[in-house]
Symmetry: D2
Subunit: 337 residues, 4 copies
């Protein structure tokens, strides 16, 4: 950590401040005096030092971290890729996983039909929403507990492990048979929820928030990991920008960034990123070519009757075509050195 | 609601679609045929129609709402300002309220000292954080339950009603003696929390999310109000943009926008918006002149020792100067017609 | 164009307004009366109607375009891809073109070395900056006219056609031997420059502005095309968001969007998008897989001595490796149906 | 300037790099070695060192400026406010100036009527557009040279000095009798134009770009000042964000930021910021209370017939009411200490 002091800081103030730093933290302090300002360099473990606290000191002009503030999620301290295995399917091992299914679970028939079809197309996971975060209190809020039962029923029939979103720590018990618990973009900084999930022994799919940085996303992963649960899958699903043609702007750079900074698997959700069915194919192809470990895609047996997000869902037939292309692309990429 | 259909939509498809709309919703449908497309106009209560559902239809090119999707928060259906009274203090009645106090509650002594000083300067509410949302799991997370006790103790001693943030619906019972419950920016779309707060009879201070639109903020207010709790106070606290000089960008336009679209009181938090202590004065003055009903300002007896957000806190002396100016400004504004 | 009128609009006002619309524009007007508002639908050529003018009418609540405001750039009126041929190289015909070279032209030796190497790696165009837009007036501003001469010299020696940026309509005569004139992101809405370029018979590479929408980019292409020059190449180079890890955020969705809305070729500049050399490979792969017609990549013989943008430049060796992968990917993609 | 080196940098590399820095720039270098990295501190004039060049060095992890990169615009080197006097009216001296008039100049009659009315309401400058930057090539482009003549005619008749926008360095001669030349948001980084304006002896009103930072705006001011023309007026006119209710988001924080960092006068344009006529009053009041030196407001004698931006223009009567309130507010503020 590098601390630039104000030009008016006196020698006594600087000495006093340096003394506090070394006594309160496991760091040593180096001082270097420039023409306009003095700079302090902190050596040691600075990840637990509050950068705001430092910035608040009267004599401090600015502060800059040299170390990243996350440890467990940091590739520096865990150079190999984390591979998460769920019911025999590996995520993060260099293969491509696809999680497909409807935005909302609507009925046993609907989900089973979709599950069978996406499985036939090669999807390894069934996704579906039971608890639905909706902007409007008047919109369909999901089948909730009943929706989870339908998900489990579809799993039983098809063998596909399931991924579904949790909206409150209160519901954790209900999710005990879910294979991967999803944290939605709007809850990425619901820290009480993250802490609770940190005590489970179950993979968590963490979606990046609408306007959260790459670092903040890794800090939310760190919340879960700090509790002991290191099975975190990162998901890029588009960020909010000024552009209105697409629902969000897919930040494709987040894929290589997450892979570089962290050892966690990274998947991409092109359905929510674009909000436009015909754009799912090019974005899926782009995501895989850029290095994503998998995709999460909305598929509905009857998109125009979907109770939510129908506008961006694919039919099983459209999905089949894309899945084929994605797997062919992956196969080709594995031969390009 | 206006629905533009694709040029290739057939007469049969259009008729079929119109029939569905009228049978499933309390609306009538008007059709108008242009040179390149047909347009349907829906008359009636469209607030419960899912715009995504409409957009997902094969024959639909685009959809546009004419009515706002919020009802209880909408000034059109509630023309008078909502005035919320807390322990005799009115919010939204044309006066200026100031909520002041430390980011984090740290001890009885700290909070009492701050409370007495901000009261002397004219603040009508004591704010303070017991449960703290922090980006890092390694940062101070607040004194939690003990922090609430310290808040209540300071209330008892000074008579100042208290405002403090809730982070989970699980904690609602702990907040039963809190005067105003705050929903932080990161939880603005924690819908399970909003629903739970909708069942209370207690004012809720709802902070706008970092990248949530004005309409989304009103929809989150609607979540609370739809549950029966109409005592919602909106709070603009800066949105996330590309600018890095300030911590966030205060969206001053949100003040007149919220006042125009809604009947709810609107306060501004210049401390979190800028993250720079010297900027709190000009932003406070600007917010009041633009029509805000009040301010929420961070004040700490010893900012450089604050356990969180010290960098943006004012000393009680700095706060006193600003509060004086703000009240003088308000008095002057009341004479300008 | 659909115009929603305010509920208080009188019958006389509406009639009067409709009469004006039909007399001043080549449109007919359809009226449809809802429960809360009246809606007018305009049929005919509305691309020359000023949407702001309509919105300014006292009785107008809101306006919505149904037609896109661009015509010459619009795929609807020009379904086939535009293919631009430069010195025998085709852009937009389904192949992949790479434009490579240094950010700034620095000397004959430097440019020639880079040109020979990128040519050997398969680049079909030499890019290089002679006139440099720099944020600081104290930064190196480019070799200007001398830089153009060095570019032409490198073209003569290697046969590579050249791409270089223009910063003012004043300089057009200097660019007469340049093969493709680039309009930089900061000049994307320098309308006087766009108009001047519209009178040339030379390909223009138009970079999307830092915070310009997809539609605005197409409108800037339309400026050039409206003058008679239909040889426009669109370039996505990252937009400005809140994310700070990358220099900009590459909007990969813009690639399929531009291809869908327009018939113009689309290339991607991963160097400026990320500003990070190691990210150029994954972003290049992603861009090609998402459907881009080509790439523009910064290559410098000695990045750490580059006079500008060295931080994001590749060495010729790094570039060679990426170009190989990109061409192999393209070959594989051509076999995936 | 502080340079953090990579952990793998060797002693020889560091020595070599430090030697280069001291030989090529007027700086001395201090070295400090931490547990994970070595840090170099540069002392001296670093404003001409290219931060990208430093960042491109193989051994460099990151770079941080301690000094601002602007000098002539920097309040540190010019502590007193710059006051610009135009035809006897002072800008930046603590008073409030208002520049009012139509978006586009349309005719002698129109402009004269508006000029007389805004003058009667207290405006000290007449604004009006002759050369108009329009997103669409099919929209009205301004009366251009004839528009300037109409502006000068209105000045002659009313005595109001005039402010109008330039779109190309080519047109400078045409602007010789204009009192204040405006650089629009879309040309804020048209560096060739800025350089040309730097050679004039005439006030330049520089609008902040749609997505330019505060620092970039000051760097554009520096471009003009570096050429010798130190009469720059900064103008905040809203930035582009995700919010769609307002046309742009007025960054009120930019007012105190510009005043703190720079000595230049700062005005606010609430008309373009919001794009909503009824919002001009609260934003004007907010801007003045936050410390702006003046306002630029669009006024049209007949907004619904305006050839551009009518949707956001005020009538002279509406403007009169706001101007009165603004001047009363300013008078009240001058008494608040």
């Amino acid at each position: 950590m590098i601390i630039v002091l104000k030009s008016e800081a006196t020698k006594e103030q600087i000495e006093q401040f340096a003394k506090e730093l070394t006594s309160e933290h496991k760091v040593s302090v180096n001082e270097w005096t420039g023409s306009q300002s003095t700079v302090l360099g902190l050596i040691g473990d600075t990840s637990e030092i509050d950068i705001d606290y430092i910035g608040a000191q009267d004599i401090v002009e600015s502060v800059k971290r040299v170390q990243e503030p996350y440890k467990k999620a940091n590739r520096k301290f865990h150079p190999e890729n984390t591979v998460i295995e769920v019911e025999g399917v590996k995520i993060g091992d260099g293969s491509t996983v696809i999680m497909a299914g409807p935005c909302s679970v609507e009925s046993n028939e609907q989900l089973l039909e979709v599950a069978q079809k996406v499985k036939a197309s090669g999807a390894q996971f069934l996704r579906g929403g039971a608890f639905k975060p909706r902007t409007s209190p008047y919109a369909f809020q999901g089948l909730r507990t009943q929706g989870l039962e339908i998900m489990l029923h579809a799993k039983e029939k098809t063998g596909l492990p399931i991924v579904t979103e949790i909206m409150s720590a209160d519901h954790i018990d209900l999710f005990k048979d879910v294979d991967i618990i999803q944290v939605g973009a709007r809850n990425m900084q619901n820290f009480e929820l993250l802490k609770a999930l940190g005590h489970l022994d179950k993979p968590i799919l963490l979606k990046r928030g609408l306007s959260n940085t790459i670092e903040e996303t890794l800090m939310s992963a760190e919340y879960i990991m700090a509790g002991g649960n290191e099975k975190v899958i990162l998901c890029e699903r588009g960020v909010r920008t000024f552009e209105t043609y697409t629902r969000n702007t897919l930040d494709i750079s987040a894929v290589p960034a997450f892979k570089k900074l962290s050892h966690l698997p990274v998947i991409v959700d092109p359905s929510h990123a674009a909000g436009i069915p015909w754009m799912i194919e090019p974005l899926s192809m782009g995501a895989i070519a850029a290095g994503a470990d998998g995709l999460m895609i909305e598929v509905h047996n009857n998109p125009k009757k979907a109770l939510s997000d129908g506008a961006q869902s694919l039919t099983p037939e459209q999905f089949d075509k894309i899945a084929k292309k994605v797997f062919e692309l992956k196969s080709a990429l594995s031969k390009i050195k």
